[in-house]
């Protein structure tokens, strides 16, 4: 689908807005619907959309394999790290109250980083799965 001008232009216009919407879903999850899981899926969907229009090699050069694989692990480590931070600051594991100056600020900070970890892992896993399937199709 690389040669279709309409698809290329529309994709170029849409992808930034999809990514922006993903960030909105991520950071507005405290106030409206959304959160880490949904934002991660939307980020992955944006890259998959890009890969469908511009071809897998182009997408792989924009979001390389090593980055995706690192994201898969980094999200879980970030989540675990938040838990450990709670212990180091004198609370229980995954205790957010000690993370900030006031309990409510600590909760905010803890939820923020936990959701970030979820988003990173989810989008990494989705992208990796897509890459594996698409690469197999191309090898054939």
């Amino acid at each position: 689908m690389k040669d279709d001008v309409v698809l290329r232009v529309v994709a170029k216009l849409l992808v930034p807005f999809i990514l922006l919407f993903a960030l909105y879903v991520q950071f507005h999850g405290d106030f409206g619907p959304g959160g880490g899981f949904q934002a991660g899926v939307i980020i992955a969907a944006a890259v998959i959309f890009y890969a469908i229009i511009f071809g897998l090699p182009t997408a792989r050069s924009v979001v390389p394999d090593w980055l995706v694989e690192a994201m898969v692990a980094a999200g879980v480590l970030l989540y675990l790290g938040v838990g450990l931070a709670g212990i180091l600051l004198g609370g229980n594991y995954l205790d957010y109250f000690v993370l900030g100056a006031t309990p409510v600020a600590g909760q905010h900070r803890g939820i923020f980083w936990v959701e970030a970890g979820v988003a990173v892992t989810v989008s990494g896993v989705m992208l990796k799965t897509f890459y594996m399937f698409a690469a197999r199709a191309r090898d054939k």
């Binding site: 999850g29 106030f31 619907p33 949904q38 899926v41 999200g75 799965t129």
Partner: protein, 169 residues
């Protein structure tokens, strides 16, 4: 509309049509979830069920034939199993409290505390996020690890397969 989709879905032998119809089904399901005020779940259903999984299924479809193989014999035993299980589940719903009944046990346990104290204790207006990330932090950690495990499972399976086929050549 969902019933029509499912009926066509089961009758269709073209796998491409099946994938597209299951995507349609996911969108209808998302609409139902919005009607039930579960916006977070609806968002996930629309993004995962209708979006990403459709793309993944189409990618898998690219690797095999698009026509479903004919069954060797009529699948009466699976059909009977499905009907019996469905019947038992429907029978089970008669034991549930009525929909949105405030006296239901689930609303008497911790839900009231989440709803009353959640915004004060966490400072997060969206109760779903507060419960998910704070009160049930361990559950969400487990879910994230499940997603992670699934991801590295896919990587391990597919990557080894590719290397072996290269060795065969």
């Amino acid at each position: 509309m969902m019933l029509v989709t499912v009926a066509v879905l089961t009758r269709s032998r073209n796998l491409f049509a099946v994938v597209v119809l299951s995507s349609v089904y996911s969108f209808l399901m998302a609409t139902v979830l919005v009607a039930l005020d579960a916006v977070d779940v609806a968002m996930t259903e629309a993004a995962v069920g209708a979006g990403v999984s459709t793309v993944l299924l189409l990618g898998a479809l690219h690797l095999c034939r698009t026509e479903e193989a004919k069954h060797a014999q009529a699948p009466w035993l699976p059909l009977a199993m499905a009907v019996v299980t469905g019947g038992v589940l429907v029978y089970g719903t008669y034991g549930l409290p009525a929909f949105s009944d405030p006296q239901a046990p689930i609303h008497q346990h911790v839900a009231a505390r989440y709803l009353n104290d959640g915004p004060k204790e966490t400072g997060v207006p969206n109760v779903v996020t507060a419960v998910l990330a704070s009160y049930r932090g361990y559950d969400t950690l487990g879910e994230t690890i499940v997603v992670f495990t699934a991801g590295i499972g896919v990587v391990a399976l597919l990557r080894r397969r590719r290397q072996r086929s290269e060795g065969d050549r």
